[in-house]
Symmetry: D2
Subunit: 343 residues, 4 copies
């Protein structure tokens, strides 16, 4: 059995905690070696709950550990680029939460640094590791639905974002923040690149978002190079539950991924039948989070390049930026124009 890979987690917010606990307990071939977190309370809590010896306030102290082989970056999006570049310089393999960056330029700078350092980089599009999406990919790749014709995807969160999360300069705004998962899935499942997008957005429920210039609902129409079409919906106000659905209609069939029920119970009374709904992220994608981290470690153990990588992050980011501009301008946006503009 090969030695366990020593992994450090930078950032112990909600997702950082998820990754740290997975590493500590469920990921084979890796060990949670160190964490870095600027918030003192969060550090104290981690020390109490996870028995980690090396807890740093400054991520650069963590990166300075020579024996550390890999890092997981789960800090706020605006800090991703700087930390990934520093980790690359330090020669660490990198797993970074999505999105890698909020601008094309920044994403390219990161990719260049990673390429120069020759380190592995995986980006956190965990849906690709969900058993449902994996099965869908398999079915499509195996020809079960012919060739893809229409891609539809819905991502609905069960609550308006908390106030401290509202700044679209930090989150990228609704479309970049939420739909980037769907944009990544669209390329992966359709097997073609998006060429043109149009978008509509509105703010009808989460009124705090309006005050910071963000929206709570969006619908993005897409055209792929293959001639396939797509539509992606994002919503902040599915108060009934976490509703994530994707379907691909092909020339010979269709595949639909999505689950509304959480626990396998239905109550029947005089007023009809009732069941619960998927509450949130970890209930739906807990296994996918584990799967993507295991994939990252397995690739490192076997000397293979993990996926999805920084190029895939860039491709999804471009769709997200184009869709955001399309919403803002009310006009179609060609991804090729975006390309030129950013050079």
């Amino acid at each position: 059995m090969p030695a366990r890979i020593k992994v450090g987690v930078i950032g112990l917010g909600r997702m950082g905690n998820v990754h740290a606990r997975l590493l500590a307990t469920q990921i084979a071939g890796a060990s949670l070696y160190a964490v870095a977190e600027s918030d003192e309370q969060a550090r104290t809590r981690a020390a109490a709950e996870m028995s980690i010896e090396r807890i740093f306030a400054d991520p650069f102290d963590l990166l300075a550990l020579p024996e550390l082989e890999a890092v997981i970056v789960t800090t706020p999006t605006s800090t991703h680029a700087e930390l990934v570049i520093a980790a690359a310089h330090a020669g660490k393999a990198i797993f970074c939460e999505k999105p890698l960056a909020l601008t094309i330029e920044e994403n390219r700078t990161v990719l260049a640094a990673v390429a120069r350092a020759g380190v592995a980089l995986q980006v956190g599009f965990m849906r690709r590791f969900d058993a449902g999406y994996q099965r869908a990919k398999q079915l499509i790749a195996g020809g079960s639905i012919g060739y893809p014709v229409t891609f539809k995807s819905i991502s609905r969160d069960p609550f308006c974002p908390p106030r401290n999360y509202l700044d679209p300069a930090k989150s990228g705004g609704l479309i970049l923040d939420m739909s980037i998962h769907d944009f990544d899935l669209s390329r992966w499942l359709v097997g073609s690149e998006v060429e043109r997008v149009t978008a509509e957005g509105t703010t009808l429920v989460c009124h705090d978002l309006a005050s910071v210039g963000d929206i709570d609902n969006a619908l993005v129409n897409m055209r792929f190079a293959s001639g396939a079409l797509g539509n992606v919906e994002a919503s902040r106000n599915a108060f009934y539950g976490y509703d994530i659905r994707t379907e691909v209609l092909g020339s010979e069939g269709a595949v639909m991924i999505g689950a509304h029920r959480h626990t396998p119970v239905v109550l029947f009374t005089r007023t009809g039948a009732q069941h619960d709904v998927m509450p949130y992220l970890m209930e739906r994608f807990g296994d996918a989070y584990r799967g993507q981290l295991q994939h990252f470690i397995d690739c490192l153990q076997q000397g293979q390049a993990p996926s999805p990588d920084g190029q895939e992050a860039l491709a999804a980011l471009k769709i997200g930026i184009a869709a955001t501009r399309a919403y803002q301008s009310g006009q179609p946006v060609m991804l090729s124009d975006l390309e030129e503009a950013s050079l």
Copy 2:
């Protein structure tokens, strides 16, 4: 196009109305030629709503019409035998609601009269004509589940029977009245005869039933000649809706028939997801009622024997009587013992 078969309906209760309206509107190759109904109000209502010229108070007046070719008997169960025998003597083809009779002896007397007269007889096991049950039969016959191993069936009514329906001497009691459909399905789908039954019954909800010596819930265990096993449940208190389900587990797979949803709508709110439930008989089996009547007419038009016939009614009745005795005695009942007792 052959001439329409002239059909008379005897009894205009709930089921008689269903059959009469089907004949008047949706059954090809037949015409609603006459009705007989002892209740004056019911006759007046039928005259107003269905534009039938020949409406009799006495069923024997209807049977005396020489041009009438077929009759549908939907009177109370206790009168079935006498009317079917009279119709056979009059040379009419006969469709009779289930059960044909409440005792084996009576069922045999009816079969003898029908055989002597050489008339067609079909009994109203309409579930056999439901698209779901037909598909299940097809799948089983085609070997999709291997050979049958376990038969399970549930029949739940959404309300306690009305007071005027309570007399078990007239209905045969819960097991005969409700489960006879499941007993018929069991023979048809398993393809083997029931040899032994045990049963438990209780009266916990519809307390009026206790006062007349009937029960509101029963569970019947069955052993088939093939070695297959079965369980049939009847309940009067599924106040959430009409719940009819059957499944057959085979040596290579299983087939499950059943539908809880009625309209194709789901409401999602903060308290979860809700949908409606099948309300009652006609919503679930409306098409099957039409199908069985069309089958009866088609057979008459083509000179073929309709099915299920009186022998099948007898076979289901035997299981029902055995199960009722098993419940009453708390002991297993062999159907072969029943056979001897009744000779």
Copy 3:
């Protein structure tokens, strides 16, 4: 009981036959009094199967019957306007299949003629009469989902249209032909008018359509006056079955309408679970067709204006024309611009 309304059916194609048979058998308060059909074979078949006395080759002969009170127009779309106008001149109440016309001008001409004649006009948006859509309307109107935020609708046909149906000059093209139902539903369920549309279209499967300048798949994005958003999908290539789904996400919940299963049977084998899918139109909307015709007759019997009327047809048509132009131009189309252009 009031006298039955004498109804004539003009056009005995697929839908004409549906309406004629419904009138002959299942619609209370009406009688199938006459039919008109230019095709001789179709007339012969109708005579054989439906026992109608008055069968005309020329619809104007039918309209000339003074005792005829209402007509159902189910001829090809390009003839709707002329026949509805003639029926209005003849003083008949009119039920016309959708769409009433293929241009705004023509639709307006028809409405003017109908208004002058003071006759009733109902247009065939039968989905409004489906139990599922009716329940959804009720739930939304009752506040169960708060106010509407996003409207999504999918209409997928299970086969490419036959060659004789291909001319988009006659059908209006994919978006007008198929999505007009969804556009009508969008206004009805959202309770607000569409202000702007964008659209993508493609021809990837039904290659015959490309040769006549039509498409086989389209995605239309919509913005409503209320700020709500919408997306409507049309596809000709859902070879797995007839797939009609609609959902409305509101500020407090969501309602989803749609049914994939047809018969209530699931087969479980070593390769998984399998069930059938809704085959086509009549299996899904047979009851809605009956319901809309009964509504038309009930309104005539009670002297009320039937709905949806010609104004509703015009409103749905406008969205369809705008969406078609948006697809053709690749640009957003404001419905207000359309308005001006057509004056």
Copy 4:
């Protein structure tokens, strides 16, 4: 934070491995301190995969560790009694896989030893810790379905047992081995004790079972003291998947627990819709296994008695023995007679 409880696992078969890995990774407040396993290969594998320092061949060596506070017994059923008694003598808290024993006498002997030692004992009825069954219990306890009237439960395994598992003297035979979970659930959900059982059994598919005197399918009918009825099915031949379903029909509604789908994907093709089925135990009850072990540790940490305990194991065992005798004799068995016989 209290010190972690040192736990030893006795037996590293399939279930032992599950428990050991859970302890090593996912159970808060406990540590995997030692294991005992007679098979050398299994010990070597455990050493390689789990980094446990104390690995014994003899369970009594493990029990001799004075600092060990709790043990998990997952050896073959026939050794449970001896090991639990030894663990009790050694003063360890005990979690034992179901069943605790295969005879009433043995179960009582174990309970007496545990009581004398005053140690905690929990028995592995993990379904009680499944989110679905917990929700059902809650709904029933909260009155959502009125009072229980009928209990139905199905347990179907996806393959015939392997040859080395065939001896019914070791497993207790089909009914005891599989249905004991359902018997435990029946008491827990109905809230009443079983008084009488009848049973049918057959061997139609797993022919190896016949050669050792066991059966592959059984149906057990039950009567509860409250007057409620029950039916429990066990099958070895659900080759389509692991099929575990329970429902309770009450006086005011019903609750149904069960899940056929595994991954949230449906494939639609010209032949219909297809989806996968729950493969086996860990996919369905992985979380429940974790939950029951966490409950055991939490109770130890908080000084509370864990549940279900040995009395509950005895109650379920009695139903299982009565049902086995009922099957063997073809006669109803009263649980009160069983009681006397065993004294």
